[in-house]
Symmetry: C2
Subunit: 304 residues, 2 copies
């Protein structure tokens, strides 16, 4: 248990720098006895003599004091660094941002967001991890993530979220599918066909809920937690799929062409949002990224 204080060190260094207790006190805007006292205590607690008191002409360092003077200056610098680093986490847009992201949203949005943001704020490093909803929420709650990009589904009260964009679900078909030329497609039209389910919470429940709401039972022939696996299977005409996340390209990894069609049913849209721990105080960096995402999404997905 350390028994001396940074304050004592500050006063000691100030006095050593100026060779005078009174001058140090003046500089520090405290009274002369305060400095005198602090130094006396420090000498006592460290068990060494730091100064030789030269009556009427200030103080001069003992050899031991001279060595300690250097070390104390170092330590104070170190302490200020820590303070700055803590403080700048809150006052400047620098430092590290720990970000979580729902798996399917990751490759679609994060490359652009991260690249643009760090272009505006080069002093920022972003640590990104993809995870499923539950892990994202846990990550927020236990402090693994500062922020998380996820769907506004089943969020507990502990996390607070701001919507960024809304996305309507759509039907994904192989190019050769009989309905690939249709305008929009009703769930009833297709419910009997083999369905490839994107099986990752909370999406799974959301998709199945859409069928349920229409009084239908999907014919799940395959399920995978990987979006690209689902697209690949649809490309191979294993079945159709129902998705929200919409990659720009229409090719699967193995080069087959896909077609998307809107649902004719008026369905509940999915909301992508930025979440953070409700009770935690956001850093300025967090706010900055939050705002940045807000504008980026409104520019690119302004009307849902």
């Amino acid at each position: 248990m350390l028994n001396y204080t940074l304050r004592q060190l500050e006063y000691f260094v100030a006095a050593a720098d100026r060779g005078s207790v009174a001058r140090a006190a003046e500089r520090l805007n405290v009274s002369q006895p305060s400095v005198s006292n602090a130094i006396a205590k420090l000498e006592d607690q460290l068990g060494v003599q730091l100064f030789i008191r030269q009556h009427a002409q200030g103080v001069s360092l003992t050899p031991t004091g001279r060595r300690l003077h250097m070390e104390a200056r170092d330590l104070l610098r170190h302490a200020e660094d820590l303070f700055d680093s803590a403080h700048s986490a809150n006052s400047a847009i620098t430092g590290e941002l720990s970000l979580g992201c729902f798996v399917t949203l990751g490759p679609l949005f994060m490359p652009a967001l991260v690249t643009l943001f760090t272009q505006h704020h080069p002093a920022v490093t972003i640590r990104l991890r993809e995870a499923i909803q539950d892990d994202l929420i846990n990550g927020l709650v236990n402090g693994e993530f500062d922020l998380a990009l996820l769907y506004d589904l089943n969020l507990p009260d502990a996390v607070e979220s701001k919507p960024l964009a809304r996305f309507a679900p759509y039907i994904l078909l192989p190019e050769a599918h009989r309905l690939s030329g249709a305008g929009d497609i009703s769930l009833t039209d297709i419910a009997d066909e083999p369905f490839v389910l994107l099986d990752v919470p909370p999406s799974r429940g959301y998709f199945l809920g859409l069928f349920e709401a229409a009084g239908l039972q999907p014919n799940v022939i395959f399920s995978s937690p990987s979006l690209e696996m689902v697209r690949g299977l649809v490309g191979q005409s294993v079945g159709y799929s129902l998705l929200v996340t919409r990659p720009r390209g229409d090719l699967t990894y193995d080069g087959l062409r896909l077609v998307t069609r809107p649902l004719s049913e008026a369905t509940q849209e999915s909301t992508v949002c930025m979440a953070r721990l409700a009770k935690s105080r956001p850093t300025r960096l967090m706010d900055a990224f939050d705002n940045f995402c807000q504008t980026w999404f409104s520019e690119h997905y302004g009307d849902g």
Copy 2:
């Protein structure tokens, strides 16, 4: 002006290490509210949130807190290093000893003293500087030296000295001098001959004082602040000299042989002593060197 304390940092780190305020308190032998309070203040003063309070299961770090945890541990280690370094200046025989030494005494005693002492205490480094009496005293007073080896002449009250050995003055003659075969020599026998004076304070005054006490006036033909210069001149038969410091060899630098003869007058002996600043508190290293010199001198020059 730093507004957080090492104590706060200690409590914070302890709590972060254990993921629990209560456990930290237990470990630190303080009450739980003390730790809680310290952390709350630290968060306030640094302006960041360090912990997420997980009700009924301790606390977990925010990403910012995690970064600060590392830095705080570093800083505490640094602070302990400083404490150790200060403390060990007083509790272990390590560190640096700043030593002053009267010019003529240097080559005679210091090589052996320094070598032997650092053999016993390998962790010690000795910084040695030779100077004349006034500079030694100033050096002690203004903190340049921890200790000084010098003659017990004209010492102000500010420095405290312990005698190490007494040396009687002697006459130095060239080998070919008419009195080189004599048993002892009176100042009266030789006062008219040319005298080579070792001209360095306080020796100068001491030597001249010896003549004065005998009611004699020396015939100073040459004076030099260098002992070897004086010996060389005497070797060349420029004159005789009166000295206290007694090198072992009887050859000058240029290879001429010298002879020493005791004074027949009962004279005041010169005392070599170890001096330090009276009001300063000695470190253990200083004490150790002091004692070491005490025994070394009593072994080698036990009877004066």
